[in-house]
């Protein structure tokens, strides 16, 4: 019966992301959450185990179609943890819990659990939990923004790269009560920085736009670098917009702190194994770099337009999530709270 499942919901999600109907991670996160919520209330499942395998099949489907998009997988992975927790509290059993040294020493033989027993209250309690989770997702951006005053002080010069909704909101929140200057790196070849700069300028923030090549030259006068990210990796590194590694190295050179605004759903248990890792990076359309109108030149040169950069954890100062600030070395702890160890590899 499981094989017969049509996955129409996840296929729709995939195509919406592919066709940029959903282009920011917040919308993707909310849509994924709603997808699972529908699956729980309307799907054909009896036990927690059924439900978990339904979700896992969707994750597998999603990974095979869009391996570089981590947000939906993270959301679903976290919901798997919620299901496990609900099941465990429903039966007052201990479950496998954290995979820890302590557990290794204290485990009993009858501790293992296969989540197959029926729990009549599971559906309603899960829907309650997911409603809470959705509120958490919806308020995450505002929660991050309200921390802005702790990090941005009067008359500081802040540098940011490209466009991030979270960073925009963060800066605008601080601008309500502080006066500071923002330097926006334009982020070629997509130039999302231009839109960011115009949005900030509209909120009366003193904004300067610079080309990517001017980052090092400008860095000496910057007080803080504040950026968003695509994914936070398990070691505290970043998979983020191409060009940020360069900015991070320039900041390191001048010992300028880098704050990364990251929603919890951006935390992924993935590691960067090698720089040639499959599906770590993708190449976007080369038309941005060399337009098709360049005609004869197109035949003579190769054009690459990689979408992502890996930024190692040593270059990041602080992650700011809705729970507050965390150092990169603490990411492993957040991950173990967010996801069940058995779900980290899917």
């Amino acid at each position: 019966m499981l094989e017969m499942e049509l996955f129409s919901d996840v296929i729709k999600l995939i195509s919406d992301i592919r066709h940029s109907k959903l282009h920011n991670s917040y919308d993707i996160a909310i849509h994924t959450e709603e997808l699972v919520e529908r699956l729980i209330s309307e799907g054909k499942w009896k036990s927690a185990q059924d439900l978990m395998s339904l979700i896992k099949l969707r994750i597998a489907r999603f990974i095979s179609a869009l391996p570089q998009e981590a947000t939906p997988v993270n959301i679903m992975r976290h919901i798997l943890k919620i299901i496990r927790d609900e099941y465990d509290t429903g039966f007052k059993s201990k479950g496998e819990g954290h995979q820890s040294l302590h557990h290794l020493v204290t485990a009993n033989i009858n501790d293992s659990e296969d989540y197959s027993k029926l729990l009549p209250t599971l559906k309603s309690s899960l829907l309650n939990n997911l409603a809470e989770y959705k509120v958490e997702l919806e308020s995450s951006m505002d929660n991050i923004a309200t921390q802005a005053l702790e990090h941005i002080h009067a008359n500081e010069i802040i540098l940011t790269v490209g466009k991030s909704n979270t960073v925009e909101k963060f800066l605008k929140y601080a601008a309500k009560s502080r006066k500071f200057q923002v330097i926006v790196v334009e982020a070629a070849p997509r130039f999302h920085g231009h839109l960011m700069a115009s949005n900030l300028a509209k909120s009366n923030i003193q904004t300067t736009i610079i080309p990517d090549s001017a980052v090092f030259a400008m860095m000496s006068r910057v007080n803080k670098v504040i950026i968003g990210t695509h994914t936070v990796l398990a070691n505290g590194g970043l998979r983020t917009e191409c060009g940020v590694h360069m900015v991070a190295l320039a900041a390191k050179r001048y010992s300028i702190p880098i704050m990364v605004l990251a929603h919890m759903y951006k935390l992924s248990p993935m590691h960067l194994c090698s720089s040639e890792q499959d599906a770590f990076n993708i190449c976007a359309s080369p038309a941005d770099v060399l337009p098709y109108s360049s005609g004869p030149l197109l035949n003579k040169v190769h054009v690459y337009n990689p979408a992502f950069d890996y930024v190692p954890p040593e270059l990041v100062t602080l992650f700011i999530s809705h729970q507050g600030g965390n150092a990169p070395s603490y990411v492993y702890r957040l991950l173990s709270e967010l996801y069940h160890p058995d779900d980290q590899e899917l």
Binding site: S100, L101, L104, V105, N235, H271, S329
Partner: protein, 302 residues
């Protein structure tokens, strides 16, 4: 009740006959044996007996770091078992049951580690390793079985030349490998992709105690921005917080036979690599950053 020679011969027997068992696991198995044959009828007597067993094993010519951490973990586990039970016989049974479960998990740990580490060994990798580590060998074997093509450089690793054994093991598995001098670590570093070593013990700071020369290798790797990976079972986590090399206990650094003489003239067998030089630790608890190690230890011992 086992006497001193029984304990010693049982322990040495495991290590001599079973090639694939580490000293830490052998120590735990010996302690299990002591529990099984103990007949004083009191917990106090049993604890005394176990303490004696540990001393005996530490005084054999095997790496004391692994034995100490294995025994430490096992002792902790016993104190946790005592809390849950009432009579001695009951307690003895609980200990044996849990002990067996514990050993089974430890035996499974190398398989977990090799799977985690294997994904980092990609086609075309050039890997530098030091001395001989069973778990590194397992991981390399697993990668070779998955038809990955990679090359390994092994240091000769004086004074016991354990690198030569590693080299022969790799040759047997038909993995392309080269034996290099210990002094050539700096020379080879620019041409390798990453370093992968085992550990005798992992200390609370997240640093490791390993065969002498590991620290040199880590320093060199850091200088050339190469990742330094450590593969280790969680049974090797130990409650030690060395700040420098001289903080390491003498029993880690020198063999029992050498300990009676003038230590300043002896060559140490292990060194301490601080956590700042380690990129990641691959353990049966997952892939950990060095800072995660202290968290695990605190959870257990607090």
């Amino acid at each position: 009740m086992l006497n001193e020679t029984d304990i010693k011969s049982y322990f040495l027997n495991i290590l001599n006959e079973e090639n694939d068992v580490s000293a830490g696991v052998a120590a735990i198995r010996t302690l299990m044996k002591i529990i099984k044959y103990h007949d004083s009828g009191t917990i106090q007597g049993l604890l005394e007996d176990l303490k004696l067993g540990m001393e005996i094993m530490k005084n054999t010519n095997y790496p004391s770091a692994a034995i100490t951490s294995g025994c430490g973990l096992f002792r902790r586990f016993i104190t946790l078992a005592i809390k849950d039970t009432y009579t001695f016989a009951e307690c003895q049974n609980v200990m044996l049951d849990r002990g067996n479960l514990f050993l089974n998990k430890l035996n499974a740990s190398r398989n977990k580690i090799k799977k985690l580490a294997c994904q980092f060994i990609v086609d075309g990798s050039r890997i530098l390793t030091h001395s001989r580590s069973r778990v590194v060998l397992h991981a390399l074997k697993e990668a070779a079985e998955q038809n990955r093509y990679f090359e390994v450089f092994v240091t000769k690793s004086a004074p016991d030349d354990s690198g030569e054994r590693m080299y022969n093991d790799l040759r047997e598995l038909k993995i392309p490998c080269t034996l290099i001098m210990d002094a050539a670590i700096g020379y080879i570093m620019e041409s390798v992709d990453f370093v992968m070593v085992g550990a005798e013990a992992v200390v609370e700071s997240g640093g490791i105690v390993n065969k002498i020369g590991s620290y040199t290798m880590a320093l060199s790797a850091k200088a050339m921005n190469k990742p330094f990976y450590v593969l280790t079972e969680s049974v090797k986590f130990s409650r030690l917080f060395p700040l420098n090399q001289s903080d390491l206990p003498d029993e880690y650094k020198y063999l029992p036979t050498a300990r009676s003489g003038d230590l300043s003239k002896e060559d140490p067998l292990v060194d301490y690599t601080p956590p700042s030089y380690i990129t990641l630790l691959f353990t049966d608890l997952g892939i950990l950053t060095p800072s995660a190690v202290s968290d695990e230890l605190i959870k257990l011992y607090l």
